[in-house]
């Protein structure tokens, strides 16, 4: 809740007494009361606009009658509202009738037919016989971009697309053009759309003037079968509707129903247009066995038998700890649970991990420290009611696009203040009154956070006495801040102290604070120090400040949180319970142990470490050396090519389960289509393996496994089956508030040969390497393009469109480049999602940002 409380207003609606918070418009108040008022251009997500003029109601205030538009007119004390009077109906009908003069009634081939507010309103106002001569426009549809079609003949100029593009998405790619009869919606001069391709305009368009070109079927969308499920791309965890027709996944839509999911129907390009990866001809169809370097199709029985026999022999010969597993960040909770159960209980090996944990084991520690310190963090649905949001090293429109939607909404309705700390000058358009930008030097993240902590203490912006009394290592912490003087920090980070003071002052005030941390902090190689610094800052605010602090660990994929919760880590069992298997932790250094022979068998579920592993040559070497490699995946990835046996698995649209998002919301995954080919859900595969190994699992359904999870991980109690998207709350918290003091590592000074730093993360339209199987996403994000600053482009005489060679100590890549003001001088930015541009080969184990040199090619 925001710290500002709204007054309650009493008024009457059609004679009945109603109460609503101050500032509520009549239309919204009536909607909540279940009273229908015709309208076409209002949405709870958008500011009042009054374009369609069909929502007139009669009000009486102090005996004075007035006809007002209910979508813009707020309720006032003692107001008497009457809807559907003879007079208002006359006005509303006339306006709608005029819209129908131009609107084509091509309903059978319209995507909105059946879910069309224009149809509903026409019916509600009983407008069956128009008085006017029909004058249809007949303009060709505009298909100049691969995703969104403009068929403006159906447009009723409600401006919903223009407003959502502006207010919710902050992109403003659409606007009204010309005026009078010639007025139209679109881009400047009808140029091809160049935007974030979130598709919000398609969902919000009430009439089908904007259509989803990726949709596999046209018309009567209301007849498609809808399955509510959770998106499988980033860890924000949006609720989506998978729409199918005759067993085909046709398209994905947002669900704007009140109180469904965490995203209010907002989606991004990936979530909305990434359905091409489900029913795809490149999917693996049958189990494959590597026979002398070639893959031979085999049956499931043979595959399961071979694997189980191999497991038994390996256990007998080298002991259970020689078998390791990598859990999937895109597998469901239930599947990961069974995977670790298979390893721990059936095989007896504790060597389980996941790529996120392998790379940054300190994230789980950070999460536990937050909980121990009593910072439990609210559900992410309350982000739109935040008073201040700190986006720390996260490029929100690329990393969590839908978080951006909530923050922008907060900026408009709650008055959220926005703090952005990032080494890149990332774009984030919003309507907040206050934005503090801390564009710091690469790898100086921790210094920024630590300096803010020091300012909080020095300037007494928080109750320091209380913090000192509550926190045992307060003095040690204060001492550790000694080096962050204004002068030192200014030099180290390049951010002026005045800016940091401004940020600290805003954070110090009584507020609901939300801190979103980007996965980029992991890339800096200083992740542990940065997360600790942020934790310490949050702890100061939590103990010494008023209001709340909400801080979420950085998670990358849809179930990066769940895979850790489910115990796919060597340190803890599901629910972060201590493990009883007293084995040496071989997976902490997995690749080395594979290469050196300590690990004899590796089982990878749904991951491609060849592409995403941080130490390319070591991963490759490990995978080549390990005697037996099983890979479960939907596609033939680079890792799968090195496997002995490949098992085809089902996509998220073909299986049942739950994902846990980065703010710990457990949300349902539901099947919408039948599995492709002979592929099977990982859930069943693990069950079959347990059976083949002679220790069958007792469960018979996903629901039973969920019950098992609830028992094993008490914090998950009551969250299943995930339809309510409830957040799991730790059973115990605040037991041990303490600062985590981690020294910042010295940043490598740039060498003569490699003077620049390479920042890499997910592209706006891609995540991992699996989004490339969705054709629509490749259409909008076809090519890996590096970004450099204007200053560097001048000094090196490089122009946008040139090809540059990015060279690190270990490898080089040739990529096209563009010059932007997002990237600061001395930095090259390169998205990491293209398999043909293997960024991790440049890294090859290097911990921090990769030192590189660039020069122009050709």
């Amino acid at each position: 809740m925001s710290t500002v409380v709204k007054k309650a207003i009493n008024f009457t609606l059609n004679g009945e007494p109603v109460t609503a918070p101050e500032g509520t418009v009549i239309l919204d108040a009536a909607k909540r009361k279940g009273v229908f008022i015709s309208n076409l251009c209002s949405s709870p997500k958008l500011k009042p606009f009054a374009a369609c003029r069909t929502c007139m109601v009669e009000t009486v205030v102090d005996g004075k009658k007035e006809l007002v538009y209910s979508c813009t007119h707020p309720v006032s004390e003692g107001m008497e509202v009457k809807t559907e009077t003879e007079e208002t109906d006359r006005y509303n009908k006339a306006c709608l009738e005029m819209l129908l003069v131009e609107h084509p009634l091509d309903c059978p081939i319209c995507d909105k037919s059946g879910v069309c507010p224009l149809q509903d309103n026409t019916d509600a106002l009983s407008l069956y016989n128009g008085r006017f001569e029909i004058q249809r426009r007949n303009e060709p549809s505009i298909k100049t971009n691969p995703i969104i079609e403009f068929y403006l003949n159906r447009c009723i100029m409600c401006g919903m697309c223009v407003r959502i593009c502006d207010e919710t998405q902050g992109v403003q790619a659409l606007d009204y053009h010309k005026r009078g009869y010639k007025i139209s919606i679109g881009t400047a001069n009808e140029e091809p759309l160049d935007c974030e391709f979130c598709g919000q305009c398609v969902t919000i368009c009430p009439t089908g003037a904007l259509m989803d070109l990726t949709s596999q079927a046209r018309g009567l969308a209301s007849m498609f079968t809808e399955t509510e499920t959770t998106c499988n791309f980033c860890s924000w965890g949006c609720t989506i509707k998978l729409e199918t027709k005759k067993g085909q996944l046709v398209r994905i839509e947002g669900d704007e129903t009140f109180d469904v999911g965490i995203n209010e129907g907002n989606l991004c390009a990936k979530g909305r247009f990434g359905h091409g990866m489900v029913q795809n001809e490149n999917r693996l169809q049958t189990p494959l066995m590597n026979v002398g370097g070639e893959f031979k199709e085999i049956g499931w029985d043979e595959a399961i038998r071979t694997i189980s026999e191999r497991i038994t022999t390996t256990v007998n010969r080298s002991g259970p700890e020689s078998l390791a597993a990598i859990g999937g960040e895109t597998l469901t909770n239930e599947e990961n649970f069974l995977f670790q159960k298979l390893y721990r209980e059936v095989i007896g090996s504790n060597q389980v991990t996941n790529l996120n944990h392998l790379r940054a084991p300190y994230i789980n520690t950070f999460q536990q420290q937050c909980i121990d310190s009593g910072i439990v963090s609210k559900p992410i649905t309350e982000l739109e009611e935040a008073d201040v949001v700190l986006m720390f090293n996260t490029d929100i429109p690329s990393e969590y696009p839908v978080a951006g939607n909530s923050i922008r909404k907060g900026a408009i309705y709650t008055g959220t203040d926005i703090l952005i700390a990032n080494p890149r000058n990332v774009e984030f358009r919003h309507e907040s009154r206050m934005e503090v930008r801390m564009t710091y030097k690469p790898e100086s993240d921790a210094a920024v956070a630590n300096r803010i902590s020091r300012i909080l203490i020095e300037k007494n912006l928080i109750d320091t006495a209380k913090a000192q009394a509550t926190l045992p290592n307060y003095d040690a912490f204060v001492q550790s801040l000694a080096k962050y003087t204004s002068q030192y920090t200014e030099e180290a980070t390049g951010v002026s102290d005045a800016t940091l003071i401004q940020a600290a002052e805003r954070l110090g005030r009584n507020a609901d604070r939300f801190i979103l941390i980007g996965n980029d902090v992991v890339e800096t190689g200083q992740g542990e120090a940065i997360l600790s610094a942020l934790l310490n800052m949050s702890l100061l605010l939590h103990i010494g400040g008023e209001g709340s602090v909400n801080i979420y660990p950085p998670r990358e994929h849809c179930n990066s949180q769940g895979v850790n919760d489910m115990g796919m880590v060597p340190e803890t069992l599901p629910g972060y319970q201590p493990t009883h298997l007293n084995q040496k932790n071989l997976v902490a250094d997995l690749w080395k142990n594979c290469s050196q022979g300590a690990i004899k068998m590796l089982f990878i579920a749904g991951e491609d470490p060849c592409h995403s592993g941080k130490h390319a040559s070591m991963v490759r070497d490990g995978l080549q050396t390990v005697p037996f490699l099983v890979v479960q995946d939907m596609y033939m990835t680079e890792t799968a090519r090195m496997a002995d046996i490949i098992l085809p698995t089902s996509s998220y649209a073909e299986k049942e389960g739950t994902f846990t998002n980065m703010s710990r919301h457990v949300q349902r995954v539901a099947p919408a289509v039948l599995p492709e080919g002979q592929s099977r859900p990982d859930f069943e595969i693990f069950g079959d393996l347990a059976q083949a190994l002679g220790k069958p699992f007792t469960h018979t359904s996903v629901r039973e496994v969920q019950k098992e999870i609830e028992n094993a991980a008490p914090s998950y109690k009551g969250t299943f089956p995930g339809k309510k998207s409830a957040q799991w709350i730790p059973t115990e918290s605040g037991s041990q508030p303490e600062f985590a003091i981690v020294e910042e590592e010295a940043v490598e000074t740039s060498s003569q040969d490699y003077p620049m730093k390479l920042i890499t993360n997910n592209h706006m339209f891609h995540i991992g390497s699996y989004s490339h199987y969705a054709k629509a996403l490749v259409d909008i994000g076809p090519e890996c393009v590096a970004e450099i600053s204007y200053e560097d482009s001048q000094s090196m005489n490089i122009n946008s469109g040139d090809t540059i060679r990015i060279k690190s100590e270990t490898d080089f890549l040739d990529v096209p480049v563009t010059v932007t003001d997002r990237t600061p001088p001395g930095v090259v930015y390169l998205p990491k999602n293209w398999v043909n541009v293997p960024v991790n080969k440049l890294r090859n184990g290097h911990q921090g940002l990769i030192p590189v040199s660039i020069n122009k090619q050709g």
């Binding site: 992109v171 403003q172 790619a173 606007d175 009204y176 053009h177 005026r179 679109g186 001069n189 140029e191």
Partner: protein, 179 residues
């Protein structure tokens, strides 16, 4: 025909700069834009329309490069700025002819033969409504009513008013104007 020669020289220079900019001239041209923007209290979107009017007064139209600078400085998007430009007819995004040929299309002038004059102009200069002839001498605009119905049909070319014209006379008058 006394064309205000000296007034046009300034305009002409501006046009040349805007159409064929050498790198140095381009810099000067942008400096003018920045100077205009600085004459307002702040570089805020609230001054977009007066800013663009002033810029157009200087350049006679809004060149693409200038629009880009305004977009960047006022932090508005392409769709928005073109939304404003296309709403107001007086904003031009293409270079107009040296003289604006305002042909009155009010009721009186229409009845008295404005369309025939328009046809003649089309025949002679190959320019329709809103178009510029090949030599960039005239840009033809139809005006709603220029308030001189007594002298219908009438036209305003540059700053000069001509009443009771006819197709033949139109060509004669037009011939008085040169680049």
């Amino acid at each position: 025909m006394d064309t205000p020669e000296n007034e046009n020289t300034a305009e002409e220079t501006a046009t040349e700069i805007a159409t064929e900019p050498t790198p140095e001239e381009k810099k000067i041209c942008m400096e003018t834009v920045y100077a205009i923007m600085d004459s307002f209290p702040s570089r805020s979107r609230r001054y977009l329309i007066p800013m663009m009017s002033k810029i157009q007064d200087k350049f006679r139209f809004l060149p693409e490069d200038v629009i880009k600078v305004v977009m960047k400085e006022l932090k508005i998007t392409r769709a928005e700025i073109y939304g404003v430009i296309s709403f107001y007819h007086q904003f031009r995004t293409t270079e107009p002819g040296k003289y604006i040929y305002k042909l009155c299309y009010g009721t009186a002038c229409f009845v008295k033969g404005a369309p025939i004059i328009a046809d003649k102009l089309k025949e002679k200069f190959n320019m329709g409504q809103g178009e510029t002839d090949a030599t960039k001498l005239f840009t033809l605009e139809f005006a709603s009513c220029l308030g001189n119905c007594g002298a219908a049909p009438m036209a305003i070319i540059g700053d000069d008013t001509y009443g009771t014209i006819d197709p033949e006379k139109t060509i004669e008058i037009a011939n008085n104007y040169t680049l």
